[in-house]
């Protein structure tokens, strides 16, 4: 099947390091025909734009008008377009550049940060920073089906979209009564006892993040940063998270005056954008509101 395929990699704004992994994943690379199929990848020396592409992997967020045009043009030439990595779907870390005043960005920049699905219709979406080995296994299967059969209608989302907490290896003492004893900042975690991070007061974005990552950070003693994108049903990672921790912080309220306590704890969240929207700011309700206020169209 891979014989004669033409593959492209388009790097928008982001580190794009994850794209190399497509070719380093044995199964996926085998299906695509490996390096020999690569026809377009400017950062790796393949700069001539081909007339058509069987598969185009797009990483990064969209910041410039030139990127919009390039993306539209390549979509028109491509059979299967894969929005690859969290940056391409939710903005990822680069989405934080939405915080910069649009007027200071200069000529050629969009009013805000866009994602690939804002501009063109992808066929496959893979979250992750970077997408994991398991996600690439699944992606390989889907691309193989696409290449061998008629392209199905609609988009395919790769990876488990349940909340990370559902099968988290760090269990709370009593899952039916999870309590957060206040809010600690990341560096304030001292004497980690292996329990649920929330129960230790650490801001872990597990409740609102999809679990396709396989708990890579949590298994290595680090709370979830939200890099795999929102879990199914989560509209806004930050707002949904505040709502989640609000309920478990309030359980501890029986002995303390409710509003004073909650307000004081939320005050400890010195950087809500960094903690709660590190990977999804462009797709947040806050960004939508800000754009509406500025009279900027979302399209």
């Amino acid at each position: 099947m891979s014989e004669g395929l033409s593959i492209g990699f388009l790097e928008l704004t982001g580190c794009s390091t994850c794209l190399e992994n497509v070719l380093l994943h044995e199964k996926l690379s085998g299906i695509l025909g490996g390096l020999g199929s690569v026809k377009y990848w400017p950062s790796h020396g393949y700069t001539v734009e081909p007339d058509s592409l069987d598969v185009l992997f797009v990483s990064g967020a969209v910041r410039t008008r030139a990127q919009v045009e390039k993306l539209k043009k390549l979509r028109g030439k491509t059979r299967i377009l894969v929005a690859y990595g969290t940056c391409s779907i939710y903005g990822g870390l680069i989405g934080l550049t939405a915080l910069i005043n649009a007027s200071s960005r200069g000529e050629g920049f969009l009013e805000t940060i866009k994602t690939v699905p804002d501009i063109v219709e992808p066929d496959i979406l893979v979250t992750g920073c970077p997408p994991t080995r398991d996600q690439l296994d699944e992606l390989a299967g889907v691309i193989n089906d696409y290449l061998e059969n008629e392209k199905p209608r609609g988009k395919v989302f790769i990876g488990n979209r349940n909340s990370l907490c559902r099968d988290c290896p760090r269990k709370p003492r009593d899952p039916s009564r999870l309590e957060m004893p206040g809010i600690k900042r990341d560096h304030e975690l001292v004497g980690d006892d292996g329990r649920c991070f929330l129960e230790q007061g650490i801001l872990c974005l597990g409740p609102v993040t999809s679990s396709g990552c396989g708990h890579l950070c949590i298994l290595r003693g680090r709370p979830c940063m939200g890099c795999n994108g929102p879990a199914r049903g989560v509209v806004d990672q930050g707002l949904n998270y505040i709502s989640s921790i609000g309920s478990i912080l309030l359980k501890s309220m029986e002995r303390i005056r409710m509003f004073d306590y909650f307000a004081a704890e939320i005050d400890r969240l010195v950087d809500p954008m960094g903690y709660l929207y590190r990977y999804t700011l462009p797709k947040s309700l806050l960004t939508k509101l800000a754009l509406k206020k500025r009279g900027v169209s979302e399209k």
Binding site: S43, H44, T47, T97
Partner: protein
């Protein structure tokens, strides 16, 4: 004439040739997608910076994380543990290998008609796997935290890593030696080695025995005349003369300029590479260059080969005897201040992070100095060598290849040169 995307650099930059009667009047590399990094990081919680900064660099993202962790540690007044330093060093060595193998095989050498991309990709498969085993992720090594590490690989993982590192070291040595043989007979490469380039200054971190320091050592400035001056980070930043052309870059340091950082700078500054395979290849390279300092940037290809072989040997050595990993992983004793520095001499070159935090440990101001801040002035000067030449395939090819030798990330060149306020 405008070249966009630039081969090996991508869509974020363009090469602009001003032409007059068929000859090059001027040529320059321009940024088209500036990131405004400092704007994004100002106002962030200090402890989050190590997880945000790596996104701004595809080549040196782990180096960014480590420089950031070091700067946060400095603000918090925490001292990292020995095992944590070893884990960081291991990650940075792996990144240096990737950086050099990728840059040679995918960026510079295709422009010289040398195709070793398949071989390079196989090597990258090994480094990527070892990085994955080391921290769980190929991007954003989250185990690196202020004061230590949140996790360490167990013995079975270490054994697997050591096995992969042994193969990696053999493959890189073989790849590098064959490549040198290949380049000796490459007409275009030899033609480029015969181009006359002006002298430059060089800056790098060197260890106590004159070896590449990476994260341990002093910043050394090699003057074009040959003398070496050691500088503390504060001293270095005080002596910088920064220019602005829509973005900032360093023109000179302490009267020496332009100053280059990265693999060629390290080759010129170090006394040697204290490992078996690297020292032998280093001697072979010196025979080709005819001694040091070497100013022709096309020797960067050879410097990358020497350094990748050296780094692979150190990775294997570190994993063959892991006594350094015993002991406490985290140190949470702290005495917070306001200003912190982190210095890493990564694959691309010298990275300096300087953070100023308030009493709530929110970042109020910062400066991120990247390798491109040093190298841009030298690249500009080297490109000017083409002035007056006929604009044609060969001159375009030289300009493209020159640009890849500096592996510039022009999108990063948006620094706030001086931290406002204290310090």
């Amino acid at each position: 004439m405008i070249i966009s995307p630039v081969p090996g650099i991508g869509e974020d930059a363009r090469l602009v040739f001003d032409e007059e009667e068929g000859r090059i009047k001027n040529v320059r590399l321009e940024a088209v997608n500036k990131l405004f990094i400092e704007e994004v990081l100002r106002g962030r919680a200090l402890e989050l910076l190590p997880s945000i900064t790596p996104i701004f660099c595809s080549s040196d993202s782990w180096s960014y994380t480590v420089a950031s962790v070091m700067a946060v540690e400095d603000v918090l007044g925490r001292k990292p543990t020995i095992p944590a330093l070893g884990l960081r060093r291991l990650g940075l060595l792996l990144e240096i290998i990737e950086n050099h193998v990728r840059n040679n095989a995918f960026k510079t050498l295709p422009l010289l008609g040398v195709d070793v991309r398949g071989e390079a990709l196989r090597i990258l498969g090994y480094t990527s796997r070892v990085k994955e085993l080391l921290t769980g992720r190929i991007l954003n090594p989250v185990i690196y935290v202020p004061g230590g590490a949140s996790w360490k690989p167990d013995n079975s993982i270490l054994r697997e890593m050591a096995g992969l590192a042994r193969i990696l070291s053999e493959k890189i040595d073989d790849h590098g030696r064959r490549l040198i043989g290949n380049l000796r007979n490459n007409e275009l490469y030899n033609k480029m080695l015969n181009l006359e380039f002006s002298q430059a200054g060089y800056v790098a971190v060197i260890g106590g025995n004159g070896e590449p320091g990476i994260i341990n050592g002093e910043i050394a400035l090699l003057k074009p005349s040959g003398g070496i001056e050691k500088l503390g980070v504060n001293e270095l930043l005080d002596k910088v003369n920064i220019s602005s052309m829509g973005f900032s870059y360093w023109v000179e340091i302490n009267g020496v300029g332009p100053v280059r950082s990265g693999p060629l700078a390290r080759l010129n500054i170090v006394h040697g590479y204290p490992s078996e395979k690297a020292s032998s290849i280093y001697e072979e390279v010196l025979l080709i260059t005819g001694g040091k300092p070497v100013h022709n940037p096309f020797y960067t290809v050879l410097a990358r080969i020497v350094e990748s072989i050296y780094a692979a040997e150190l990775v294997y050595e570190s994993l063959s005897d892991t006594d350094w990993l015993s002991g406490v992983l985290m140190n949470t004793k702290e005495s917070p201040g306001k200003i912190g520095y982190g210095v890493v001499d990564g694959g691309r070159g010298l990275i300096i992070h300087r953070y100023l935090a308030d009493e709530k440990l929110v970042v109020r101001d910062l400066s991120l100095y990247t390798p491109s801040h040093f190298n841009y002035a030298v690249l500009r000067r080297d490109l000017s060598l083409l002035k007056g030449r006929v604009l044609g395939d060969e001159t375009v090819r030289i300009a493209e290849a020159l640009s890849t030798l500096y592996d510039p990330c022009v999108s990063e060149l948006t620094i706030n040169p001086v931290v406002k306020g204290e310090g």
